[in-house]
Each structure stands twice: as C-alpha cells, then as structure tokens.
C-alpha cells in the first residue's frame, strides 16, 4: 500500500519535473547566485498542471508558476540508481596507450590537464616480465578507504556501487587523497580556470561539474551518462574496446561493440582486481595482459620510469 503511494508520488513528481522541463524553465537547478524566480513577472500561460499538494490533494496550477526545486541533487544523488550495481572490466591485453579514454574524460569532464582522473600507467610486474599499459580509474571500492576517513560525509558510497564526492560539503582536508591507495583523487588547489559556460553549470555530484576551489574530485563513473542510458566517456572513446562497463546485477558488461556475461568474462579470462590484498574490494576488474596482438611501445614519458 505504502509502496503504491510512494510510486504514485514518484510518478507525480516525475511528471511535474517533466512538465516543468517542457515548460521551458531552466532545469535542473539554478546556481546559488542566479535567481530566476520572478513571480511578479509571470505571464499566465493558461495551461493548468495537476499537482499533489503536501496534504495529499490534487491541485491545479498555471504552468507558468512552476519553478524548479533548488539543489534537487542533494537527496537523490546520495542514494544511487535503484537496483543497479555498476562494474567495469578493463582488458589489459587490448590497451595500446592510445589515451583516447583519457582525452575523452578530460574533455567531457572539463578537466584541466594536471587532473588525471583516468591515468594510463606503465606496469611491469617484475624485471623479466613484459611491461604493459594499465588504465586506472577510480575503482569505486566496495570497502572504500576514502569514504571511511572522510570526516564530513562529503565522499559517499551509493547503492549502485558508485563512490561520489559532494563538492558543496567537502572541507578540503585531503585525508581521502592520502587514504586512497590508487592515488585516484585530484584537488582544486586554486579557483578553477574554465570557460564561463562550465563554471555556470548547475553543480551536481553526478557530473562533478563545475569543480570548486579547495575540494577533491575524481573519476565518477559518469552516472549522468548512465542515467541517459549511455556509456561512460572512456568506454565509448576507446577504439580497441578495452573498457567494459555494465551492471553486476544483470551480470552483463559491454565495451560498446560486444555485450558479454560478466561472470563468464572474469572466469574465462582470469579477471583480477588491482591490489586485491588491501581488501578495498574494487568494482573495477582487470583482464591480464596476455596474448597481446601488438608489442609494448614506450612513450616519451614512460621510457625513464
């Protein structure tokens, strides 16, 4: 019964949001400084919208009075997408260090060059073993050391497995940065220098945009893309199909060209997780760099490392 009520509430809310969106109002939310609510200037459109009042009654209101709820992200963004458990598999046998993933990530998240949310590091397990390229993202650990140490709940773990950062909450102590064994986190040491349209975007932890001075940021698994039913930018940018992304609950991952069963992929190709011994339980798996189709080539940065 109560579930039904919640569902109908949810539906109402959704249709409300949808209508307000189509009504041409700025959506999702205004920035703190940008007051777009000019009640006095409202020109009634004549179109009425049905809404649910706080008392549970259906009321009618002119469309023109609809206004977006400020900071709509806060409540929902911490919960995650219901029923999902996102997972990534990175096929090291296919990575040629083309850095398309990195560049797409940098471009789509409006990152300044020194922010490496997605790194491609040169790995060599021992002196005799062949080196290989390893893309590293945030691993969205199930036992995340960063979330544990955050004193103000600015970085949090969602039900869909994603670890996000609320840059409106972060106090900039950088404890998470030293706690993360994968060095996945970046810091805005100064006021970010970015195009105005980026800086004026409504802030949302799901887009991690715009960045804020004195706070931490990192790879966010692109939940905004996932909500649209699209792949994270790194996955779609890779021409070699290195990145598989999907849902552990559905046991399916896709690299854009093929969709495979997650459990089979990991079983058959000996999937492993980086630094398993630390007990962080990453949500990113690696397929070992065996039977590679191409030789390893150093780039100018890795030669001396």
């Amino acid at each position: 019964m109560s579930n039904n009520n919640e569902a109908s509430l949810e539906n109402n809310r959704r249709s409300f949001l949808k209508k307000s969106f189509f009504a041409g109002l700025a959506f999702p939310s205004p920035t703190e400084n940008d007051n777009i609510f000019h009640r006095d200037d409202v020109l009634e459109s004549g179109n009425k919208v049905k809404l649910l009042s706080p008392d549970g009654e259906i009321i009618e209101i002119d469309e023109a009075y609809l206004k977006p709820i400020p900071n709509t992200y806060t409540a929902k963004v911490r919960e995650g997408i219901p029923g999902r458990k996102f997972v990534m598999v990175i096929d090291l046998a296919q990575c040629k260090n083309l850095r398309k993933c990195h560049d797409a990530c940098e471009k789509m998240h409006h990152l300044t060059p020194e922010k490496d949310w997605l790194k491609i590091v040169k790995q060599q397990d021992n002196d005799l073993a062949s080196p290989y390229w390893q893309p590293t993202t945030c691993f969205h650990c199930d036992n995340p050391p960063c979330v544990k140490v955050c004193p103000v709940d600015a970085t949090f773990k969602r039900t869909d497995g994603i670890v996000l950062i609320d840059n409106d909450r972060c106090i900039g102590c950088r404890f998470c940065m030293v706690a993360c064994p994968y060095s996945a986190r970046s810091f805005d040491w100064s006021e970010p220098v970015l195009p105005l349209e980026v800086l004026n975007m409504p802030y949302d932890p799901e887009t991690s945009c715009p960045p804020k001075k004195g706070t931490v940021s990192k790879c966010d698994f692109c939940p905004d893309m996932v909500r649209k039913g699209e792949m994270p930018h790194c996955v779609s940018a890779c021409p070699n199909g290195v990145f598989y992304f999907g849902d552990e609950n559905e046991d399916a991952v896709s690299n854009g060209t093929e969709t495979v069963k997650l459990s089979d992929l990991l079983k058959e190709r000996f999937g492993y997780r980086y630094m398993e011994d630390l007990g962080t339980k990453p949500r990113v798996y690696y397929l070992p760099p065996v039977q590679r189709a191409f030789p390893f080539e150093d780039d100018e940065y890795s030669r001396n490392k």
Binding site: V121, P151, S186, K213, M275
Partner: protein
C-alpha cells in the same frame, strides 16, 4: 586609594614575614623590559607576516603552497603533529609527576602548562590552515562522520584544550587572589583581570579542599586524553596504506616522541627564565639534572620505537616500503634523515648520559637541538611517504613527487611557531611562571600568610 595602600602596607608588615615578601617579589609577573619589548615586536612581526600570507592563501587557495595531488600533505600537517606533540608536556610534568609524587616538579608545572596550552591552541589553528575550505569548518560539527579519525581528533583535541586550560587555570586561582590583594601599582586592566580570575578566592579550608580535589581529578583524566590526542593524530597516518605509515606501532612511537620534545621544551623554558628572571633558586642544577635524566629516559624510549619503526620494515624490505626506506637511508632524504636521527637523537642521548651533559647550559643547547630535530622529524614522517605512491608514476610531474614547501608556506609555518611563543610570552606577563602557593608550601612557609585578610579586602576593592 592612598588610604587603602597604607592600610595594606600595615597589614603587609604585620602579617607577612620577610621570607614571604621576598618570595612574592621574586615570583610576581614582571612588565616587559626593553629586551622583552623587542622580543614581542619580533614575534608579532613574524606572526603578522604569517597571517598576511594566510590571507593570500585564503584568496588564492592552497596553490600558493608546494603541495600537489600526490604530495597533498606537507609542512602544515607535520607542523600540526609537532604542536600536538609539544602539547603533551603539560600532562607529563603536571599530571604524571604530580601523581608519582615527584616534589621537585613544583617550579616546572606552571610553565609546562603554559607551553601545553599555547601548543594545543596552535595545533588547532595550524590544522585549519591546512584545510582547503576553512569556510566550511563547521561541517565538522553539522555533518560529522564518527568513522573518521579526523572527527576523533576534533573531539579529543578540543577536550584536551579544555582540560589543559583548566589545568593551567585551577592552580592559578590562589595565585591570582594573592596578586589581587597585594599588587597595587599595576595597571587597572591587570587589577581587574586578577579580580575576575581569582573568582572570590579567600583561601578558606573548604575552598582549598575543593580545589585540590578538582586538580587531582583533572591530573588523572588528562593523562589518557593526552595519550589520546597523539595516538589519534598518529592514526591519521596509520589508517592509510602508505609506506612508513601503515604500521601498528605509530601510536606509542608518536607518544614517546611527544614526551621527548616536551621535556626538551621545559628544559629550554627553565633555562630562559633562569636567565631573564634570575631564577637560580627555583631552577637549580638539580632541576636541570632531573629533567635531563627524564629527557634521557624519554629519548631512549623514542630510540627504541625508532628502531622498531625503521629497522623491522628495513629487514623485510617489502615493495613500496623498500623504496621509501631507501630514500630515507641513502636517497634524497638521507642527509636530513641522518642529521635528525644522529644529531637530534643519538648525540643528545650520549651527551645526556654524562653528568656534565646535564648542566644547565649544555642541557639547554641539547634541548634546543632536540626541538629543532623534532620539528624536522615530523617532516620526515609526513612528507617522504607521499613521494612513493602505490601505483606507478608514469607521466607524474617531478614536482608532485619531490615536494618543497613554498615561500608563503614557510612564512605561514614560521608565523604559527612565533605565534605560539607570543602566546607563551603574553601569558607569562600576567601569570607567575612559578606557582606561588605551592612554592611557599614546599619551602615550609605558612601559605596563609600569602593572603591578606581577604574578606575586608574584597569589600574595599568592590567599593
């Protein structure tokens, strides 16, 4: 007013013996001389310079520091650890020595509490300086997450601040009352201050009983809190996976180091006040000898923990630990590491083993070296670790791996150090460096004589 003064003088001469008056004249806080004014001026300049650069940092962000995404903690954090370490001295001298009945500690208690209060205040300020968003500091109160060692630190450090302040203040109440009654030629603000702070102390038996009970209770509870502040501070490091920090031994290692540098601070303070206040009778050779022995013992304990923290990982030479240790033992950090370990620990230990090494001047020099060494030791604990991230460093800029504090960062840090000395100096201006009542009692004087006929006196003052 003049009437009151003559009246006082009368009481003074009738009730107070020569010994008591000379003791009092010796112990009253003194106005600054020329040297003192220059000292304050110097401290003020550096503290204000630090503040100036901090304002720049507030404006421009932490980008004015040498910090980077990889070396994201630097001298602000190591300086914080240093201040927390020093603040433990109050509980060492005042609480541990009190409970163990070490009578000779009396002249040291006040100054060690003053050092502790100043250090813990500065520790709180320094860690705020390190924050990227100090404007959101209150999130620590409005959105705390109890899992985080930072929240434990906030709780335990604020508790320690309150307890240390009480531990400084409570034994001061009778001293304030004495100064309220007897010091007449002092500025109005100071008279008023003493009157307020002495909270109507009349030295009755009941008051004395309550006060000694309260002091004893704090002396007991401050000890676990003192261990707590530095243990929790060590956990900021131990709860991570980083080489050099990922150890179960850092709690006692930090606490031992803290007591060592704290004892060194007290020896320095003793020497300085012996010189400027001519306190030869209070800070005798015996005090320097005992404190030096204590410092020796604490240094040996610290040496023991150093052996554990460096030798055992070096024996195993596990992956990233080995890179980090090679850096310390024979790499970039080696000159600083060996200077600090040999100059700031081993040589002081050897010197303090000899009778001559515990004479005031030598003990003072050794202590100064230990304090400077202790500051850099915190640097060596915090910074080199971050040069060895657990993932390969392909494309990582060199500056991210070889942190060097920037000029403004140094200025802010120096500003915090001078500010702590400034707090000590200003406290010493209004507070007797050596507790009056306890000293009088230790010398077999009738402490009741210290207090003028209090009831009438307070009435007179009130009018």
């Amino acid at each position: 007013m003049t009437d009151l003064q003559t009246e006082d003088k009368l009481k003074y001469s009738i009730n107070t013996s020569e010994k008591v008056t000379s003791l009092l004249d010796d112990l009253y806080p003194r106005p600054f001389g020329t040297l003192g004014k220059i000292w304050i001026f110097g401290l003020l300049i550096f503290s204000l310079l630090g503040l100036y650069f901090y304002l720049i940092q507030l404006d421009q962000g932490l980008s004015i520091t040498g910090l980077s995404d990889y070396t994201s903690w630097g001298i602000y954090v190591s300086n914080f650890v240093f201040f927390v370490a020093i603040s433990l001295v109050g509980s060492l001298i005042s609480a541990i020595l009190k409970l163990t009945g070490a009578e000779w500690r009396t002249p040291l208690t006040r100054i060690s509490e003053i050092i502790a209060v100043s250090a813990i205040i500065m520790a709180g300020i320094v860690i705020i300086i390190d924050m990227g968003r100090p404007d959101r500091m209150l999130n620590l109160i409005f959105h705390p997450r109890i899992q985080s060692p930072i929240i434990w630190d906030v709780i335990v450090i604020s508790t320690y601040l309150v307890l240390s302040t009480l531990f400084l203040y409570l034994p001061l109440i009778p001293d304030f009352a004495i100064m309220r009654d007897r010091l007449k030629g002092i500025p109005k603000w100071q008279q008023k201050l003493y009157r307020v702070l002495s909270i109507n102390w009349k030295n009755t038996e009941a008051q004395k009983k309550i006060l000694s009970k309260a002091i004893r209770i704090i002396a007991i509870i401050i000890i676990p809190i003192a261990f707590g502040i530095h243990t929790v501070t060590s956990w900021l490091f131990a709860t991570t996976f980083r080489p050099g920090w990922d150890s179960t031994g850092v709690g006692p290692y930090f606490v031992a180091g803290a007591f060592m540098v704290g004892a060194a601070c007290v020896i320095c303070a003793m020497f300085i006040f012996k010189k400027i206040y001519n306190y030869k009778d209070h800070f005798t050779e015996k005090h320097f000898d005992y404190m030096s022995r204590l410092l020796l013992m604490l240094s040996l304990i610290y040496l023991y923990f150093n052996i554990n923290e460096y030798f055992i990982p070096a024996y195993k030479m596990k992956g990233h630990e080995s890179e980090h240790l090679h850096d310390l033992f024979s790499g970039n950090m080696a000159p600083l590491f060996w200077t600090v370990q040999i100059g700031g620990m081993l040589i002081p230990i050897i010197i303090l083993m000899f009778n001559k090494g515990r004479k005031p001047l030598i003990a003072f020099i050794v202590s100064m070296v230990i304090i400077v060494g202790a500051w850099f030791k915190r640097y060596l604990i915090v910074v080199p670790t971050l040069s060895y991230p657990l993932i390969p460093t392909t494309r990582v800029p060199d500056s991210w791996l070889h942190y060097a504090p920037s000029g403004p960062e140094w200025m802010i840090t120096i500003g915090t150090l001078t500010a702590s000395l400034l707090i000590i100096t200003l406290l010493v201006r209004i507070v007797p460096v050596i507790p009056i009542v306890e000293t009088a009692e230790d010398r077999g004087l009738d402490s009741q004589q210290l207090f003028l006929n209090t009831n009438e006196h307070i009435d007179a003052l009130d009018n």
